[in-house]
């Protein structure tokens, strides 16, 4: 019975169907299936599948985004149940995401957020045009172990360095790791500003984030 349900759960994520994801999540509660197992044996399998397919060039960004949205919808139904059981889904890490000050480009950053949260990270997305003190303040407030910064403009990518310098000044690294991304970002730049990680795309970002929080095997 549950095997069949798990399959359906994975499939609805692959199909990017939030409505069915919510329906199945509710049904699993009625059937008294364990919410954590529902997530890990059902829905997450779908996310991983789409991620792999994307990596192979067989799935595309709209499918990835819709899968992430469906995953979010399912988890939102199941999370209160987990709390009732006094359990929480073990998160891989806490991430603060932002596009740096002066830059309003958010497509890439939002994609990274969707994939990170679908993969089991707790993500706080501050949005665009965020100054260093706000990014760092939020990271401290939620006890984040990872900051992800995006910049699309060559004129704003320098802000990534400012955040890293500020973190270093406050002695907050290596407690808080920093990953960066954006069209003009190159490996040279990452080395130059001493960021901890960098990825070309959202799927790569999940792997980088897992490695940075020491959960590379998950």
């Amino acid at each position: 019975m549950s095997e069949e349900m798990y399959k359906q759960m994975a499939q609805c994520i692959i199909d990017g169907d939030s409505d069915i994801a919510i329906e199945l999540a509710k049904k699993s509660i009625e059937l008294k299936m364990h919410p954590l197992e529902t997530i890990t044996k059902g829905f997450v399998i779908g996310v991983n599948y789409i991620g792999d397919q994307f990596g192979l060039g067989e799935a595309f960004l709209p499918e990835l985004v819709m899968a992430g949205e469906a995953m979010k919808a399912a988890v939102a139904v199941l999370e209160p149940e987990l709390l009732k059981l006094g359990e929480a889904r073990e998160m891989l890490g806490r991430v603060v995401l932002a596009t740096v000050e002066g830059d309003i480009h958010e497509i890439g950053k939002t994609l990274v957020g969707t994939m990170l949260s679908a993969s089991g990270f707790e993500v706080v997305d501050l949005g665009v045009d965020q100054p260093a003190d706000k990014i760092i303040g939020k990271a401290l407030e939620i006890n984040a172990n990872l900051i992800g910064m995006s910049a699309l403009l060559t004129t704003t990518m320098v802000r990534q360095r400012e955040v890293i310098e500020e973190l270093d000044k406050e002695g907050l690294r290596p407690r808080i790791k920093v990953m960066v991304g954006g069209a003009p970002i190159t490996r040279d730049w990452v080395t130059k500003i001493k960021a901890d990680g960098y990825s070309e795309d959202a799927i790569g970002a999940v792997k980088v984030a897992k490695d940075l929080v020491g959960k590379g095997d998950q």
């Binding site: 060039g57 595309f60 709209p62 309003i104 890439g108 795309d201 959202a202």
Partner: protein, 491 residues
Amino acid sequence: MQPKLSLLNDDLISRIIAEAYQLMIKPGIKVQNAEARQLLAEAGSQVDEESMIVRIPEQIVLKALETVPHEFFLYDYDGNPTVQYGGNAVQFDPGSSGISILIPETLEHKTAETADLIRIIKVAESLPQYDAQSTAIVCHDVPKDIHDLYRLYLVMLYSKKPIVTGAFTNKTVHQMIEMLAIFAGSPENLRKYPRAVFDACPSPPLIWSNFGAGNLITLARAGVPAEIVSMPLAGAAAPVTLLGAVTQHAAECLSGITIHQLAHAGSPIVWGGAPSTFDMRKGGTPFGSVETAMIDSSYAQVGKSLGLPTHAYLGSTESKVLDMQAGLESGMGAMIGALSGINMISGSGMVDSLLCQSPEKLVIDAEGIAMAQRMLQGMKIHTETLATGYYEGVNFKGGDFLKQRITMQLFQKEQHMPGKVIDRDSMRGWKESGSLDTFERAKIRVKEILASYRRPELDPAKEAALHAYVLDLAKQAGIEHLPILEDMQPA
């Protein structure tokens, strides 16, 4: 008869404009500049100050369209009107906004500096296919605060052509206008004989940022031409359909023109853009995709239906090197842009989705532009009969037509003679010339151009005034000296 590409019929154009008007009401336009909101409110728009969303009724836009000029010119250093915005004039300039330069020997995309921009300016100055210069790359050897105006400074020193440029802040746009006014003699002269057009960008979807709208207002009041660069990103920051992206482009441009004309009615502005499809595999912006060119061609048709001057970003590539992909994407883009009658087509020289400039690519792209310009001349009727008059004395021999005077008179009018970058040699001749491919031939051409380039003679007093002005801003930005320039020792 200029050949023309039309992807839209009149009915479709009307539907695009009608839906663009609807978008300006619902969801409305987000205007993040207080002064622009005030101008729109005073004209009768409904403004929500908290969300900054403005609902702009059609009649305000129609009024703006009545006052906006249908044609204007850019003038070269000597005061000649060499660039025409309006009608079906088709002109090209190098792509701008680059951050790096392709080093031909290593294929490295090197962070750009002063000497790199000067090389690009020299090459673009020497090639007649480029009707205007652009402020092509950011020079990272000067402080960020003067990045935008420093590019303009170099172009003004090394070129006489009109300039497509743009400011990075609301403050520097004033300074760049002042720089141009130094060369024009006065702000009044600059208004009458503008040398440059300034890009002003809305942010998709349907946002005029504080910076974008602020630039529009400043440019309108200075009477310096503005060029709207609307960038619907089909499938991410705009509807996935090409027609949806064209409609969003129209709403962003119409709202921009409205703000601009409310700030100063009658100031010149261009219906332009740098749209792109959104690549669903890599999340990138393929400016060389055929769908991108289709969006450009279509929005230009919409702009033309409103009688507006047009601009587009075409002729660039996603390729990282100068290979076949670079050639076919750039060539097709230039051709589609030309056939669409777009007044200014920016993008030449660029690889890696507008991030990297290449002087060698400028040289190769110039050949593609020449082909597109030849295509635009269309089929010409030179003689009374099309063919029958040519056969007297022809004895069914292959070379007979070579002996005709008319062949000598007309061949250069019928055939565009490509430069040495284009290979039409025999196999033997090609081998004897070193078996070089396009890129290798372009490298040689760039070296020749750089060796023969001479900096134009400019009025020393104006040059000194410009230098003093920029040096002062550089000092405020934290450096004591500007980079030393070859063939230029400022007083």
